[in-house]
């Protein structure tokens, strides 16, 4: 059974099929795209059902020689760290594709790039050969460049190339670090499991350099201060569905890489540098939330809140404890769901009002009850209200980091306050207060939007009450990662 290959390549197969459909049949293209990503989602659910959470080993392993001359393998496998991200990716892709049914321009190309992007993202989370990982990592760039650049907002072209160049800049350091790992292993290998077995032989100085190289590559994607500046621009200019994927999945690639490769392979360097990552996490939390507070564009506000939320996840990681790792991964999943929903919801209002200015609205609560309800739940989940998804993961992150860095954690707690403040301001200005009569003709959410948003809302509630749904399958893997990080 090649489940992981099927999962990875299904979307691309759908994309190629789309290229064969005549340009005029837009509906056929859309349905085909939804089918392909729906099938991928089904496969990922199958994976979840058949995944045994009791063991920390890699599962569903596929290993085929690819370039034997350099012992490069096509090596796919999933464990507790990749599984939730796989399901998140396929779910968000499916919903984002449904949400993009209103795209009218160059429909074929749009869905082709979207499905190509999905294949690349899935590959990143399951590739365990560093060469293959790098290939998938870079493969996300080109479709994303086109998705932002063709279907984006007014400054789309600049946003697209900025996103491209930033990520590529980071990847360069990553590539050099990967080459260094290759030449420092004996026999030379790109295989993650083989490198893991030999990482005790890596000298301290070497580990530090490789860690920094990998970190620069990953931190662009997280995005961690100070390499975050592409994010607000790209998120704001990208079309709604693409923002969902950017925030929901692409940002997770950085954190995933950090946990999987940097932490796993380089324990000495991790212990050495983790304090600096904690500081960057705090900057992300506080600075991200302050920036969000200063925005008047709703989408921009949510984009900056992503920086803030990724800071929480990093903070969970710096404790290097099982609780923290669990919190971090749960935070990744929750952020994907919540921010995905928020971007979809902002898209809903932007499609109708053609503005996202926070001050242009007012009193929409009475006019658009369904929309208001959705938006409020998503905002409350994002600011960490108990019983909604965000609370559990943020709590776990803070809980673990407080034990290690109490002062830094205290500073970052202000981030929570500011986050709460700007979301409440958003709700107050847009939905409460006197009704702005300019929006008399605004309609509530239609079927397509409801279908795209409702699953995310339901998940927010479910994961808020039963976080064990995610935590159970990942716990053993992450506990194992903590063991790997123990210094001899």
């Amino acid at each position: 059974m090649h489940v992981l290959s099927i999962l990875t390549w299904l979307p691309l197969a759908g994309g190629i099929a789309i290229l064969l459909v005549p340009k005029e049949q837009k509906m056929a293209v859309r349905v085909l795209a939804a089918l392909a990503s729906g099938a991928a989602f089904a496969v990922s659910l199958w994976l979840w059902a058949h995944f045994s959470g009791g063991i920390s080993d890699f599962q569903f392993i596929e290993k085929v020689d690819w370039i034997p001359a350099f012992r490069i393998r096509y090596f796919l496998a999933a464990d507790g760290l990749s599984l939730p991200l796989l399901v998140l990716t396929t779910l968000l892709s499916l919903l984002a594709i449904i949400a993009s049914f209103n795209i009218q321009e160059r429909v074929k190309e749009y869905f082709f790039f979207f499905l190509l992007l999905e294949t690349a993202m899935l590959g990143v989370f399951i590739a365990l050969d560093l060469f293959l990982f790098y290939v998938f990592w870079e493969l996300t760039l080109v479709p994303m460049y086109f998705l932002i650049g063709i279907w984006g907002g007014p400054k789309k072209e600049y946003a697209a190339i900025k996103f491209f160049l930033f990520t590529l800049f980071g990847s360069v350091f990553m590539l050099v670090a990967i080459l260094a790992l290759y030449f420092n292993s004996n026999p030379h290998t790109f295989d993650f499991t083989e490198l893991l077995a030999q990482n005790v032989t890596f000298a301290r100085g070497f580990q530090l350099l490789v860690f920094i190289g990998l970190y620069i590559g990953f931190s662009v994607k997280i995005p961690a201060f100070p390499l975050h500046t592409w994010l607000p621009l790209a998120h704001v200019e990208a079309p709604t569905a693409v923002s969902v994927i950017l925030a929901g999945v692409l940002l997770k690639m950085g954190l995933y890489g950090l946990m999987r490769f940097s932490f796993g392979l380089l324990p000495v360097a991790t212990h050495q540098l983790i304090y600096w990552i904690a500081i960057i996490a705090v900057i992300n939390v506080v600075y991200g939330s302050m920036c969000a507070m200063a925005q008047t564009d709703i989408k921009r506000m949510i984009a900056y809140s992503s920086i803030n939320h990724m800071g929480y996840a990093m903070l969970g990681m710096v404790s290097l404890s099982a609780v923290g790792f669990n919190g971090a991964v749960l935070q990744m999943v929750n952020h994907g769901i919540i921010t995905g929903a928020l971007f979809l919801l902002v898209g809903v209002i932007y499609d109708r009002a053609h503005t996202r200015d926070i001050n242009a609205f007012g009193g929409l609560g009475a006019k658009l009850p369904v929309y208001t309800g959705f938006m409020m739940v998503a905002c409350f989940a994002s600011l960490g209200l108990p019983l909604l998804a965000g609370f559990v993961s943020e709590f776990l992150c803070f809980l673990s980091s407080f034990q290690v860095y109490p002062y830094l954690t205290c500073i970052s707690l202000t981030g929570i306050l500011i986050t709460a403040a700007f979301f409440l301001i958003l709700i107050k200005k847009v939905f409460l207060g006197p009704f702005n009569t300019r929006w008399e003709s605004l309609k509530d959410m239609d079927m397509r939007e409801l279908v795209a948003c409702t699953p995310l809302l339901v998940l927010m509630l479910v994961l808020g009450v039963f976080p064990s749904l995610v935590l159970d399958p990942i716990n053993v893997t992450l506990t194992h990662l903590v063991d790997l990080l123990k210094l001899p």
Binding site: W66, I67, Y134, L139, E157, L165, V172
Partner: protein
């Protein structure tokens, strides 16, 4: 004396060249009919030459009084030359600027230039190297100036001629010094007596320096690159395509032979010089590339930068470095000729090579736009294309020899190069088209595009077959 069959491809190319000159003498007026006949004769000539290429010799590969050599390196770069010529001939078939010109001479000269390049890569003596460079050079000036009614074309020819003459003079000077030191022009002798170069340190270094500079002009390394953009822009575009691949890659091949096989690390420090040249070449090529608004000039600077990357294989050295150069040359052939093929097919319908003429191309010709994007992605070295595999290969080899700063710089350069490659992509996809009529492609252009794009993708996805073949060829006997 019976080893002359190793020269069969050269004989066959020359024979067909003279046949084509004969056709020219018998035609009164250039007609489409004669153009077709010459085209097919050229294709046939290349086919016959390809059919008679002998497999490389592992032992006793020296022949013709040790003047020539037929090893894996000569064999491999002979194929590169023949393939480049094949694509260039295909691209010349429909090229509109050639209408009304006597094409049989043109094709004959192309074949003759190819013979020169094959000579070059199978030389084992500096005199042969000099002769081969001239045999390639003279036909290439003529074809560069073939559009004799266009001033730019003549300018390109003159520039190419002057630069070639200058660099040949340098080469001869270097050869003279080497002869003075070692008493021979043979590479075999040089290999045996390389210690002499060290004992005669300043003079030996000077000799190597002159040879290096002259090769630098051929491969267009910075700071010897000034001729490239002007010549590419002025010459007929198929000729520019030829100049961007065959002589540069063959020049790199002979540099590989001289610097990596004949002269081992001799303490003369020329590997450091090569590394600095590589660093300069890619950085300057890419940074100036950012400023270009003409697609041909942009490709010219890109070709300069790519020779910088290729040099990483030379600097890296060893078997890995050699294989890296093979791989890079092979991949570069397809991706660069592919990009040129698109530009050539477009030049007629767009009537301009300016960046702005490419606006909205994705609407007018989605296939051409997608292909050009593919070639540019490959040229920028982004996976899963061939360009990435090739870059990865040379990076590996340089990294292995400890040139980590150079690898980092080269990787960083790939980021810069995205800046200009994607300027074109930007125009094609993000801008509205000016005209709306769809663009048509001739059959020979289709064939070129199909072949180059196939290899650009295939080599990226499944490089193993070529990797093992090249590794086998790279363990060539030393002269």
């Amino acid at each position: 004396m019976n080893s002359y069959h190793l020269l069969a491809p050269i004989f066959s190319l020359s024979a067909f060249a003279f046949l084509l000159f004969g056709v020219d003498a018998w035609t009164k007026e250039p007609t489409p009919g004669t153009r077709r006949i010459s085209f097919w004769l050229a294709v046939l000539g290349l086919g016959v030459s390809a059919a008679v290429v002998q497999s490389p010799l592992v032992t006793g590969s020296l022949f013709a009084r040790q003047m020539l050599i037929w090893d894996g390196l000569s064999y491999f770069f002979t194929w590169i030359t023949l393939l480049t010529l094949f694509f260039v001939v295909l691209l010349s078939d429909n090229f509109a600027d050639f209408d009304g010109l006597r094409m049989s001479t043109y094709y004959g000269l192309l074949l003759l230039a190819g013979a020169g390049l094959i000579f070059l890569v199978s030389s084992n003596d500096f005199l042969m190297i000099f002769l081969a460079i001239e045999l390639f050079g003279v036909p290439s000036f003529i074809v560069a100036g073939y559009l004799r009614h266009q001033e730019r074309s003549s300018e390109a020819a003159i520039k190419l001629f002057l630069i070639s003459a200058f660099s040949s003079a340098m080469l001869v000077y270097g050869i003279a010094l080497l002869y003075g030191i070692t008493g021979s022009t043979s590479l075999t002798q040089l290999h045996e007596n390389y210690a002499l170069l060290q004992t005669m340190a300043p003079l030996g270094l000077l000799a190597i320096f002159f040879v290096l500079v002259s090769f630098g002009f051929k491969i267009a390394l910075v700071p010897f690159h000034m001729w490239v953009p002007d010549v590419f822009e002025g010459a007929p575009k198929p000729v520019a395509a030829l100049l961007s691949v065959a002589p540069k890659v063959a020049g790199a091949a002979i540099a590989l032979r001289v610097f990596n096989l004949v002269l081992p690390q001799s303490g003369l420090g020329f590997f450091t010089i090569l590394a600095v040249l590589a660093a300069l070449t890619m950085t300057v090529g890419n940074i100036i590339g950012l400023q270009q608004t003409n697609v041909v000039r942009l490709l010219a600077y890109s070709s300069i930068a790519h020779m910088g990357y290729l040099l990483l294989g030379l600097v890296g050295g060893g078997e890995l470095g050699m294989t890296g150069v093979y791989m890079y040359g092979w991949v570069y052939l397809f991706m660069n000729l592919g990009a040129f093929a698109v530009v050539i097919s477009l030049s007629k319908s767009l009537g301009s090579d300016d960046l702005s003429a490419y606006a909205g191309l994705s609407k007018r010709s989605p296939i051409l736009a997608a292909l050009l994007t593919l070639f540019f992605i490959s040229l920028s070295g982004i996976p899963p294309t061939a360009g990435f595999v090739a870059k990865f290969y040379v990076f590996l080899s340089a990294f292995q020899s400890g040139w980590i700063w150079l690898v980092a710089l080269a990787a960083f350069n790939s980021v810069i190069s995205v800046g200009y490659y994607f300027k074109v992509v930007h125009q094609m996809y993000f801008r509205a088209p000016e005209g709306t009529q769809p663009l048509v492609l001739g059959p020979s252009e289709r064939l070129t595009l199909a072949a180059t794009s196939f290899f650009t993708l295939f080599l990226g996805l499944a490089p193993q077959f070529f990797v093992s073949t090249f590794q086998a060829l790279a363990v060539a006997p030393k002269p």
